[in-house]
């Protein structure tokens, strides 16, 4: 089994919306993959069925079995990293073989304060459900592709 790694500049894991982030993708694989893909995506976690969407993907063609590439990408303006009682919105970077099972994920925070927005003790479940619906309407305005894990 090979290894994949994502190293972010200055070991940061929390960022402001629209910020430019950079880092290095590293891999040491047993096979010679056709391509590797670095994806920035959000996913939900909570009581309901999981949902997710890709914000951006960078493709590394013919990467060889061992190597590394520097990358940089602009974060989206939202949605912010969030946790309530019913739903969390989690942002991840994933480095994966384009047609394989090997993958690694690194969670990051996207928020104006660089901290996850936590609402579990501030609002009621019904209000949170309202926020969840607003979030889903918000994401519906963007052409996020469907992404299942």
């Amino acid at each position: 089994m090979g290894s994949l790694d994502i190293k972010l500049s200055d070991n940061r894991t929390a960022f402001k919306p629209c910020e430019k982030i950079s880092g290095r993708a590293e891999w040491q694989l047993e096979n010679n993959p056709e391509a590797l893909e670095l994806s920035l995506f959000w996913q939900t976690e909570g009581k309901g069925t999981k949902d997710s969407g890709i914000a951006e993907t960078i493709r590394f063609d013919n990467p060889g079995s061992v190597g590394s590439r520097i990358f940089s990408l602009r974060l989206p303006s939202g949605p912010y990293s969030f946790s309530g009682k019913l739903i969390s919105i989690i942002w991840n970077l994933e480095l994966a073989e384009a047609k394989g099972k090997d993958a690694i994920q690194k969670s990051i925070i996207i928020s104006p304060t660089e901290k996850e927005i936590v609402c579990t003790d501030l609002i009621s479940d019904s209000e949170e459900e309202g926020h969840k619906n607003s979030f889903l309407k918000f994401t519906g305005k963007f052409k996020f592709s469907s992404h299942r894990f």
């Binding site: 909570g46 009581k47 999981k50 946790s83 969390s88 901290k115 996850e116 927005i117 003790d121 501030l122």
Partner: protein, 196 residues
Amino acid sequence: MKARDNPFSAGRTESLSYRHNGMSKNGLLLKFRQLDYKAAIIGPKGSGKTTLLEELKRGLEDNGFIIHCVFVNDEKPLSKDARKNLFARLKKGDIVILDGADLLSKQEWRRFKSKIVKCAGGLLITSHRQDLLATLIECSTSPELFSELASHLAVGESHPSEELLNKIYAEHKGNIRNCFRHLYDMYADKQPAVNK
């Protein structure tokens, strides 16, 4: 408790593997072959039918079969377009997996089955009823199974008592999916949130 920390979140409960009680995965795949690749996984709601279906799907793919999945539920009936798209992609020897076959009307089911048998070859379904295809396995739950799964998910958290788990199991009439949702709500209210 934050949703992402809840041990009974959908992401965690959906990642549980099917607990075989009797026939193993390979035994079921062999039985499916003996039934000429046309069979049904039977059981009530929340008894693990879809979990087992996913496991058998991976097993069939590992054996080189091309699998086409169709998921039907109360909110998402089988549309004409979805049916047309499926039929257009089928090749001899493919296997169609249909989750929620008993939600099709009798007429829809007859047409669907006849088309799949003619164009593909294999059909594996889940159903609450036994009269659609030969039964591959009948899924069921028990308080012991629920207790084992709940303990597995709540590792590192305080465990609910056996008495409480038995009460929840009885309240939801053995529907383990609903039992997990019940536990989710209990854990969601467990701790005050702290903004780290």
